[in-house]
């Protein structure tokens, strides 16, 4: 056990799984870097250095730099998975899914069903998501609601380094296509991460904190925002449960419903665009399945329905922060009861 960054945790998960299973191969743009160039090999290890060092250990047959052709190589990962490899493909930024989405949602995700259960497609697609990098509209999106919408995909969104390692190892061992989303703002964040390999099962939420007044569900990095808000609120006498679902598909509906049965109040923090996102998904689940327990409106803390802006001051306004979560929690705490709720 030692302190490792989110980046290192992912690198270690990849390395350990590649050692364990020769069928695991990596592919993506610059995942090694320097292919065909005169200078250093392994020059990049991914655009933010996450896969650095792996080509040195596993060679270019298993760590494949790709051309700028996402449909071809993400589709190749699907075809390879269906025929015996266990590829981990990197899409770099989730924002690029628009040039290769067909291979993900119509091919990989549907093989098993369309083919009557006779296909197994064990692939992982890793990608960065999220705002905070001043990278503007085309490099800052979340988009996991889109993948969550698609039957046949699993969607994993780790909230910390420890989570990232265990969930990625699980993803690689999983026999279904897995979308693995890495919040780029977290890469340098460190925490204690075991050296040995371990898995965190899908569909089992993590209650990062337990309280009695309000349930807060956060997605990915928003778990941290939720925890920060809960800290402040605790000092003010409001006791929150914070739930990290870890995977949005499958979603651990039981943990969320159980918690709301106890607290009677729900706030959801989602960094994704607000329409048809995870906040609406979880809210709808609870409004259908735990309505009787609800003592206040469900509140969603999300960005506005606008593309991610470039200017730092605007981007900071765009992303949900702890202050907004605190305000939402206070609002549901102050709610008088069932009558006259429409504010």
């Amino acid at each position: 056990m030692s302190k490792k960054s989110f980046r290192q945790a992912i690198n270690e998960a990849l390395r350990q799984e590649m050692r364990r299973d020769p069928r695991v191969v990596l592919m993506g743009e610059d995942v090694a870097g320097g292919a065909g160039a005169a200078g250093e090999d392994d020059a990049w290890g991914g655009v933010l250095g996450v896969t650095k060092g792996l080509v040195g250990e596993f060679g270019r047959e298993r760590v494949l730099d790709t051309p700028l052709s996402e449909s071809a190589y993400i589709g190749a990962a699907a075809g390879a998975a269906a025929t015996g490899l266990r590829p981990v493909a990197e899409l770099m930024f989730v924002d690029f899914m628009g040039v290769c989405f067909d291979q993900i949602f119509n091919q990989a995700a549907k093989f098993r069903y369309m083919f009557g259960g006779h296909a197994v497609t064990p692939m992982v697609i890793r990608m960065m998501y999220g705002a905070g990098f001043r990278a503007a509209s085309q490099h800052s999106q979340c988009l996991y609601p889109i993948f969550t919408h698609i039957p046949g995909l699993k969607v994993v969104i780790p909230s910390s380094a420890y989570e990232a390692k265990g969930l990625l190892i699980q993803a690689i061992r999983d026999d279904d296509p897995v979308i693995f989303m890495e919040n780029k703002v977290l890469y340098d964040q460190e925490e204690e991460v075991p050296d040995e390999s371990y898995t965190i099962p899908f569909g089992e939420a993590n209650l990062t904190r337990e309280g009695s007044d309000v349930t807060i569900v956060g997605i990915g990095r928003m778990v941290q925002i939720a925890n920060a808000a809960a800290d402040t609120l605790a000092r003010q006498g409001i006791s929150c449960t914070v739930i990290d679902p870890r995977t949005t598909s499958p979603l651990d509906t039981g943990s969320i419903l159980d918690s709301v049965e106890e607290t009677g109040r729900l706030v959801i923090v989602d960094e994704a665009s607000p329409r048809c996102n995870m906040a609406t998904d979880i809210s709808a689940l609870v409004a259908q399945e735990a309505f009787g327990a609800l003592r206040a409106p469900i509140r969603m803390v999300c960005p506005p329905h606008v593309p991610v802006p470039f200017a730092p001051n605007l981007e900071d306004l765009y992303v949900p922060d702890a202050a907004r979560v605190e305000a939402a929690v206070r609002a549901v705490m102050q709610h008088a009861g069932k009558q006259g709720a429409r504010a």
């Binding site: 047959e61 052709s69 589709g75 990962a77 025929t83 119509n106 369309m114 006779h118 999983d174």
Partner: protein, 321 residues
């Protein structure tokens, strides 16, 4: 690859099965009993069979919306296919896929595909598996002239080329994508495109089984030898509409009739092998009869076979969830 008697009989039988399968579907579709969209391969048999004769179960193919011929040529069970097309539980995909999604991965058949251009990237993956796991296998993408304009296809040419994958791209150019002529929609030539991505290409007459067989043999041998991908531009034609129900008013008068009379791959095969005294006409006749019966039985069975059960709606989405 030299073709012995067995091979010739197999080639003829396979082409005949495809033809009868499709001709019969054409008739059955008109009765309204077959659900969904059905794209018939009749007329193009020499391509699927000429290519797949070189392949074994460890080799993979990816097919298209017009997939029945490729499935049969790659060894998919014919009655399993017929059941699938009728939406039956006993179908190759349990009735969940239908005509556009027939697959049998155990046979190396990675699926018909409802997305034009869906297959070529997958084939890069199958070829990568062969390369990394050193299976000795090759991977073949069948695609149409229309699909040759899809970005997914063109990217795959490049990827296969730079990775020197054991892959072959078989462009089945039947002159049309739906009602749009290739002469309108395809700029340049298929061979020049291959060259643009550093691949060799061959142009072949797709009515001639032997020509396809030879070209495919060379391309596949090259791939197996680790020399990388290549492209085969197969020029052929479809006898029916884009899908069943298409009136084909866009085709020239008598176009199909002329092709059927003058160039048909089955007729041509028959006259060639009988004239060269490689096979007897009677042998071929008895294949014809046996195949007719086989197709008839498979249709009769499919018509009365049970559909999937209600529970099947929810299964097979994930291995585990």
């Amino acid at each position: 690859m030299q073709l012995n008697r067995e091979d010739l009989l197999r080639a003829y039988r396979t082409m005949r099965i495809i033809r009868d399968f499709e001709e019969r579907l054409h008739v059955e579709f008109a009765t309204g009993e077959i659900p969904g969209f059905v794209h018939l391969y009749a007329g193009e048999e020499a391509s699927a069979v000429g290519v797949c004769m070189h392949l074994g179960d460890k080799d993979h193919i990816a097919s298209t919306h017009r997939g029945h011929g490729h499935c049969i040529a790659k060894g998919c069970d014919v009655s399993g296919m017929m059941n699938e097309i009728y939406g039956r539980k006993a179908g190759l995909c349990g009735g969940k896929g239908g005509s556009m999604h027939i697959a049998d991965i155990s046979k190396g058949m990675l699926g018909a595909n409802g997305i034009v251009g869906g297959g070529p990237p997958l084939i890069c993956g199958a070829a990568l598996t062969a390369k990394v796991l050193k299976t000795g296998g090759v991977a073949i993408a069948f695609l149409g002239d229309g699909a040759s304009n899809q970005g997914t296809t063109l990217e795959s040419y490049n990827l296969a080329s730079i990775w020197k994958l054991p892959a072959v791209f078989v462009v089945e150019d039947n002159g049309y994508a739906e009602s749009t002529a290739a002469s309108y929609a395809v700029a340049g030539t298929q061979s020049d495109r291959a060259k643009g991505f550093g691949m060799p290409a061959q142009v072949v007459d797709g009515f001639d089984f032997f020509a396809v067989h030879e070209a495919a043999g060379a391309a596949i041998e090259r791939a197996r030898a680790g020399e990388g991908p290549s492209l085969i531009h197969v020029q052929l034609s479809r006898y029916y509409g884009h899908f069943e129900g298409d009136g084909m008013t866009y085709r020239g008068a008598g176009e199909v009739d002329r092709l059927r009379n003058d160039r048909d791959c089955l007729k041509r095969f028959r006259s060639k092998v009988t004239e060269a005294a490689l096979l007897d006409a009677s042998e071929l006749d008895s294949i014809d009869h046996a195949v007719a019966e086989q197709i008839d039985t498979s249709v009769r069975n499919a018509k009365s076979a049970p559909p999937p059960t209600e529970a099947d709606l929810l299964t097979d989405v994930y291995v585990a969830y």
